[in-house]
Subunit: 249 residues, 2 copies
């Protein structure tokens, strides 16, 4: 196993960081690595906003559901889907680009571009001994997040990435069985096999919690997911995204 694969497999979300800021050099390395990711047709449809200001970080932490590690970390990055610069380019080149920019296809491209870049940044950070945590909680209140970060139209903050020196290491949770995530030639057609895989996984997860909580917790993954998904959260998203002139047609 090489150093790269070791770094990748060793990932866990870190939620406690030392009070030590990243250096300008570390930030530059993380961003450069993010930029090295593949991008659909060279479109580069994302932006990254780094937040250092303590008051601003506290506000973002509150908006993200009082996750204190949004405020306390070495650096806080926000990854955004960004088709604003392409809007300006359309004006400058006097070409009709708006219908394309408003398509669901280009919304998907911007999301994928931003996520590929973010994961490169995350791996780079981890390779330097830093810990990371993705913050989807920013999507709880995007109107407010947008106001804080002053993002223009056709820019959607997607998630944060808290980076810093870990002060408490968490455990890795077992993932879905490889054969459930990975299919060969075609998607699994046998529903019995498919459901069996989920059931086996449920037992693994239940056992995982049981062991780590002295039996206090033993919820299955299916149970967790059903609970999570039965709560209708962030249902404003469609309207919000469309108000920002993306995913419209």
């Amino acid at each position: 196993m090489n150093e790269v694969i070791e770094t990748i497999l060793n990932h866990r979300s870190i939620r406690h960081f030392e009070d030590k800021p990243l250096t300008a050099e570390q930030i530059k390395t993380i961003v450069s690595c993010a930029q090295a990711a593949a991008t659909s047709s060279f479109i580069q449809a994302y932006s990254i906003i780094g937040v250092k200001d303590k008051e601003k970080k506290k506000k973002l932490a509150a908006l993200a559901g009082n996750q204190e590690y949004v405020a306390n970390n070495g650096h806080f990055f926000v990854f955004c889907a960004d088709l604003y610069r392409h809007t300006l380019i359309g004006e400058q080149e006097q070409m009709e680009v708006i219908p394309t920019l408003e398509s669901t296809e280009k919304f998907m491209v911007a999301l994928i571009d931003a996520a590929l870049a973010a994961q490169n940044g995350a791996i780079a950070a981890e390779s330097m001994g830093l810990g990371i945590c993705y913050i989807g909680g920013l999507r709880n209140h995007l109107e407010e997040v947008k106001a804080i970060l002053k993002t223009p139209e056709r820019v959607i903050p997607l998630f944060g990435l808290a980076v810093g020196y870990p002060s408490k290491i968490t455990e890795k949770k077992p993932r879905l069985p490889l054969e459930h995530i990975y299919h060969e030639e075609e998607y699994e057609q046998n529903q019995e096999v498919y459901l069996d895989q989920l059931q086996n996984y449920d037992e693994i997860i239940s056992h995982y919690y049981y062991e780590r909580t002295n039996g206090k917790r033993q919820d299955r993954w299916s149970e967790q997911m059903a609970n999570l998904l039965s709560k209708q959260t962030r249902m404003y998203m469609k309207e919000f995204v469309q108000k920002n002139k993306l995913n419209l047609r």
Copy 2:
């Protein structure tokens, strides 16, 4: 610079592969690395389909706009947004999960999950001396791609990842200036600065092509993007995604 950062910065898309399949071990490593990526609320909303069958790969290559490296590579992965298993879980747990699964928010989660996983897989492959190329062209004809891969409802094939032993190394294209992608504290508010950055980049890209084509080509990035975006491609996507019961509300 450590080995991880070196691997990340050394990325380039590879479009010519040796006729040598990946081993089962290599495939397993790539998928395990993909699975090690962060996932929103542990939801694991993606699947990966590996394609080895030569006929199937040829069909996918034709659908992706006759990109021959979709057919000729060491292994072809298709990364899918996947909320199908969560649909089944809702039924089994007898919880009302459908409104959430049909939300734009969860569509975004599935896309981001799939892309984070894919980039881990890509980096892992590159660290083993393999080359990779993302294939967005699969989205040209998703109805046909879905039929070939037999994906159920709420599964959207997003992109392919061709992996293999490189037989021809391509050059890296310069990315947007770091200060244009990366903002601090807030998005760049000075449009003059912002447009200047784009103009500088245009010159860099124009020069890049000029040098590599003995002056035959010298298009600016803005020009490329305006041309690309003025063509309304994949405009069926919104309807297609909604027909697959995602991004509906």
